[in-house]
């Protein structure tokens, strides 16, 4: 197991290096000369001599691989430069915003698991029954409804008309419900369908027939025998799902004025705050890759049929 984990981590290194290379390239492509920006910020007239001096001091005339190496060294030490807007270190800005996004992402993930489990089981209990057919319709609906519209509808209905929930902001649990629902709904209905399909397959297996022949109760067969087996294939999708939630958080945070990373990123893009954008992309890609690794490892831990050595 340990050697497997070690190997997986080793495989992450080239991926992360590749990601960092793309982000570094991104930085090189940003319009504007960093030396000039620095000079302007400090109120110094950006004459050609001054720019050249600063460029030499910042190492901007060094060969690209040297600059990349220096940049990576700084990134590893969490030095991502300073925001153009606030002047604060980017790493600090990102980490103050990260908890809000993680809170939102995990809340909607939790909600998604809860919704999809109950809906999936209910529709598998009676295949092609009324609930099951409703589930198909709901899945297509859920896959088609734009989250930004769903969020607005929820705000209109529950906050503006009924006044049950606050319109925006972050704070208590009650602030979390609408954003989490908006973010999680689309994935929940699709996951429910996947679970239903997977449960349907497991329920046709021989060991289920044996359990039925033994006279076990239906509920017990479903929950104890079928469900754990049916959940395994779903686990592989969790990586993709969390990626979707992280990306979707950008939209949901904008609708609900949620003070997370996504809103920071949109603000940064609109105001061309490149260091922040770069830090944001680097951080989310890092988290995304890490999540996918966890999902892979978790899958192999839970399913002993899969060889660990590979």
């Amino acid at each position: 197991m340990l050697s497997y984990l070690g190997k997986r981590f080793l495989f992450l290194i080239p991926l992360w290096l590749g990601i960092s290379l793309i982000v570094f390239l991104f930085l090189q492509l940003t319009p504007g000369d960093p030396a000039e920006i620095l000079l302007r910020k400090e109120g110094i007239e950006p004459t050609r001599e001054a720019i050249e001096a600063v460029r030499r001091k910042m190492g901007l005339d060094d060969p690209p691989y040297l600059q990349y190496g220096r940049w990576i060294w700084k990134v590893v030490h969490l030095d991502l430069g300073n925001s153009y807007r606030t002047g604060e270190p980017v790493a600090k800005e990102l980490f103050t915003r990260l908890p809000a996004t993680l809170e939102l992402t995990f809340a909607s993930f939790f909600l998604m698991v809860l919704l999809s489990l109950s809906a999936g089981i209910l529709s598998a209990m009676k295949a092609y029954g009324r609930f099951d057919r409703m589930g198909i319709a709901l899945a297509i609906f859920g896959a088609s409804i734009p989250s930004f519209w769903l969020g607005l509808l929820l705000i209109y209905l529950f906050s503006v008309k009924l006044g049950w929930f606050p319109v925006m902001g972050r704070g208590s649990l009650i602030h979390l419900i609408l954003p989490a629902l908006t973010l999680g709904f689309g994935t929940a209905v699709i996951q429910a369908r996947l679970l239903r399909t997977s449960l349907g397959e497991v329920l046709r297996k021989d060991f289920i027939r044996v359990a039925m022949a033994k006279g076990l109760r239906r509920g017990r067969i479903l929950l104890r025998h079928a469900l754990p087996n049916a959940l395994l294939p779903l686990l592989t999708t969790f990586g993709v799902v969390l990626g979707r939630l992280l990306g979707g958080a950008v939209i949901v945070e904008t609708i609900f004025s949620w003070p997370g990373l996504g809103r920071l990123a949109v603000e940064a893009i609109l105001q061309r705050d490149y260091p922040v954008i770069q830090g944001y992309v680097l951080l989310t890609a890092f988290i995304f890759v890490l999540i996918n690794l966890c999902v892979d490892v978790g899958y192999r831990l839970l399913d002993p049929r899969i060889e660990l050595g590979r």
Binding site: L15, G18, I19, I22, F26, L29, T30, P31, I136, I140, F141, A143, S144, I145, P146, S147, F148, W149, L152, L153, I155, Y156, V160, T187, I190, L194, T237, V240, V241, G243, R244, L246, G247, G248, V250, I251, T254, I255, A265, V266, A268, I269, L270, R272, Y274, I277, Q278, Y280, V281, T284, A285, F288, V289
Partner: protein, 271 residues
């Protein structure tokens, strides 16, 4: 299910072709005396904050939303097919390199990579399309590569190799026609997702810019007036929902018949 999807999608195409003849008013005409009206006799769906006819803007938006989605798909497909074809056909080191590039592109959550590219190019509809295509191609590249490798095993390819067909002729005349229909089917099913993504960018204010009547951008304009004029956010959202649903219905129905579609479709629904 497939029929209803086809009906929705073909209706939308008809609307987008006939848009200039269908609009009751000019979609850009400002009438400040009649701002924020609810649905009435002159303006069937009401007016927005500048007194523009919402129905006209929606109809005109059909054309834009579907048009930009199709164009984006065309860019993404061109890159995806070229890369996938090269990768699958030549194999070896080139294949390895190109596929690592695909892996890298897919290592980012797709919306986030599009955001990064837009931040470089600046907000706007063209840039949003380029940004999305630059992310989206990777799915197609991987798919095309798989299809090419499958076709490679077939007898007619062996025969073509045996008589010494040149690589370019091989790709254009032997591989491409054999994979093109599958790709085209998958790509058209995927159009719903592209509309979805581009309208998200419009909604964030990073895609189509006002006064262009793109559905996402319209929703963005309407969202600030949610309490006073809810019809402004209701109808554009409904338009997106119906359109995307039309494509998804066709996809869902094809899913039961074809395995390749099914795998691709469920993967794309989640991501």
């Amino acid at each position: 299910m497939k029929t209803s999807g086809l009906i929705i999608v073909s209706t939308l195409f008809v609307i987008s072709f006939l848009a200039p003849y269908l609009v009751p008013h000019s979609p850009l005409e400002i009438n400040l005396d009649r701002r924020l009206e609810g649905p009435n006799e002159i303006y069937p769906l009401g007016t927005d904050h500048l007194g523009r006819c919402l129905l006209s803007r929606l109809i005109d938006g059909t054309r834009r939303s579907i048009g930009i989605a199709v164009l984006t798909q065309a860019i993404a497909l061109t890159i995806g097919i070229s890369v996938g074809m090269l990768s699958g056909y030549w194999g070896g080191r080139l294949d390895f390199l190109l596929m690592r590039l695909v892996d890298l592109t897919l290592a980012f959550p797709s919306l986030i990579l599009s955001l990064a590219i837009i931040s470089l190019l600046g907000p706007g509809i063209q840039n949003a399309m380029i940004a999305f295509a630059l992310v989206h191609w990777a799915f197609y590249a991987r798919l095309v590569r798989g299809l090419v490798i499958e076709v490679k095993e077939r007898k007619f390819i062996e025969a073509a190799v045996a008589i010494g067909v040149s690589p370019s002729r091989m790709i254009l005349r032997h591989y491409l026609p054999n994979i093109f229909s599958s790709i085209l089917v998958l790509a058209s099913l995927d159009t719903g997702r592209v509309i979805f993504a581009l309208s998200s960018l419009g909604f964030l204010g990073l895609g189509a810019q006002p006064p262009i009547p793109e559905w996402g951008a319209m929703l963005n304009e309407g969202r600030l007036l949610i309490a006073t004029a809810p019809h402004l956010m209701l109808f554009p959202g409904l338009a997106i929902l119906i359109t995307v649903m039309g494509f998804n219905l066709i996809g869902e129905a094809s899913m039961w018949r074809r395995k390749d579609v099914s795998i691709f479709h469920s993967e794309r629904m989640l991501s």
